[in-house]
Amino acid sequence: MEPIQSTSSRKAADATLEHRIDDGVLAVGVSGHWVIANANSLGKLAKEINADGAARAVIDCSGLERLDSTGALLLHKIRQKIEQAGGAVVIKGLSDAHRPLLDYAAAIGRGTALPERAHHPLLAMVERLGRGAVAACHEARNLTNFLGMTVLSAVRSLLNPGEIRFVSVISHIERTGLNALPIVGLLSFLIGVVLAFQGADQLTRFGADIFTVDLLGVSIFREMGVLLTAIVVAGRSGSAFAAELGTMQVNQEVDAMQTMGLDPVDILVLPRMLALVIAMPLLAVFANLMGVAGGGLMVVLTLDISVAQFVERLSSAVSTQSFWIGIIKAPVFGLLIALTGCREGLLVTGSAESVGVHTTRAVVISLFLVIVADAGFSILFSVLGI
């Protein structure tokens, strides 16, 4: 028995399909290499076969050299077409090596067609928009749910302070707060430099150089310091929370925890949340100092203002209130970042790819929430007249 496929390359060799009608008998001649490489041209030839008016058909396969499953499928389709037109089909000259494949294609080729999905592109766009909107609402609801769950757990822990895992909290403060000091410090310093430079550039035109210090102080203390910290922490720790918890979810560690009667919210979420709520204000204070230092350096170097003048001006421009307005936001931002990060982590299902998806989502959602919350604070403070 010859092997079905010779060891020659897959390059398209000749394959032919002939058909003619003799005395009401449709004679189909099949020869050459009926393989996937020739399937396109053979498929076109097969369409030309006119099966009408033939009561009988003979498919002669004696010239067939090679046959693969695609070729067998084509051959089967030709047979089917003739049979559907009302002709009886005889296949002759099929070698023993090729017969099982044709039988196989006939057996499983029945009714196999990919279901076509018809959709209008505009309709698909509207559908996507709708799905997105519904998903956003679900997201908001679920996040609120999760917030409630965490708050319950927090209240329970506060009533029984012995249950709070302080070691874990401290370790998370170290990782999210202490270890973030260099990057937060550097970025704040640079933003301070940029703010002072841009401010000085505009204000010197009016001879109001000294107000650069006011601009710098107020914007750093009220907005920039804490916002910058939140952005760094969301990118650094929010994503880390999601990835850590997600990996634990993939390894079924969270399930294992639950079967031991341990609450994942108590053990995993609460310490991270507490850690960020504590670390964020501290980081924000540090960011404020570094930002003012960067801006101050710029002011002293480029403008005709001495260090003593700078300090005096700053202390009159920035009230204690401004300082607190900035800092009060920090724990809220920390809470939002920790909450989103942990929730996305716990939403991970099974696969490694899911960890990546949810880590990305954790960062995007927490940044979104931080900026929305910041806008909310601005409105609140302006209504309160602070």
């Binding site: 079905i4 496929q5 196999t112």
Partner: protein
């Protein structure tokens, strides 16, 4: 088969190593056309490494590998593409592209290697899906929506997309329930006969070894001992004795004999 048996894979003097850790040393292995070869060995004996080396994911340190008459080392890009279109590989977890649906996964090799029309391509895809025993509605699903067994079947459908001459399977039945595993064995045996495939299968599953392999290659001491099941049972090497006469092997033999009696 012809009187002269054609070897589709010829490995001689193969040595693979990672750093100073030698996995295979002076290993010879011939695989005949149309046979189902099982590759077994203890954990860390380099079964998967051998498979990866044959399919070119791993570079051997010494020795030569010839697949379908072509040496796998030093091929041009074009030659290597041609060779790769003539074998199919099913990885342990299916290795489906997660961003593509099942149908799109199967169409990846079809689009890369053939100029089929859309209509023809869909017909071939449908054929491969039903060949691998999957229902048609999985074609628009993503891999993450499939069960482990379905992922393997979809991976098999993709491996079979171009009607390969050799099919490499890495632990095809690992992680499947016994019924699913037996069904998968049947599927492979069925496809092997219908498509006249040569199958090289790394496996730990004694039932599949007994059910579908013609010969078994045992990886011991960095080399291969090859033979039929009967021959290997007579082999005095202690590991082979343990493997084929252990409690699990006995259970598998019994099941196999029972099924044969029933038939």
């Amino acid at each position: 088969m012809n009187a002269t048996v054609e070897n589709v894979i010829r490995i001689s003097g193969l040595r693979t190593q990672f750093g100073s850790n030698v996995i295979h040393d002076d290993l010879d292995l011939d695989v005949r056309r149309g046979e189902v070869l099982g590759v077994v060995g203890g954990s860390g004996s380099g079964k998967s490494v051998l498979l990866n080396t044959i399919i070119g994911l791993n570079q051997p340190a010494a020795g030569s590998i010839e697949v379908l008459g072509t040496k796998t080392q030093g091929l041009s890009r074009k030659e290597s593409r041609t060779l790769r279109s003539r074998w199919g590989v099913l990885f342990q977890q299916g290795a489906l592209f997660s961003s593509l649906t099942v149908a799109e996964n199967i169409q990846v090799p079809l689009k890369e290697y053939t100029d089929l029309s859309r209509e023809m391509r869909n017909a071939v895809t449908a054929l491969k899906i039903s060949m691998s025993g999957l229902p048609m509605d999985v074609c628009s699903k993503y891999p993450s929506e499939l069960s482990g067994g379905m992922k393997k079947r979809a991976g098999l459908a993709r491996a079979l997309a171009l009607d390969p001459e050799i099919l490499f399977l890495d632990e095809p039945t690992a992680g499947l329930d016994p019924i699913g595993a037996a069904a998968f064995d049947d599927l492979i045996a069925d496809l092997q006969k219908s498509l006249n495939l040569t199958v090289v299968m790394v496996t730990h599953d004694l039932d599949s070894l007994y059910a579908i392999t013609d010969r078994i290659a045992v990886l011991i001491d960095k080399k291969v001992t090859i033979g039929s099941l009967e021959e290997l049972r007579q082999n005095p090497h202690p590991w082979i004795q343990d493997y084929f006469h252990g409690p699990r092997a006995r259970a598998a033999t019994e099941t196999q004999q029972e099924t044969q009696v029933e038939v």
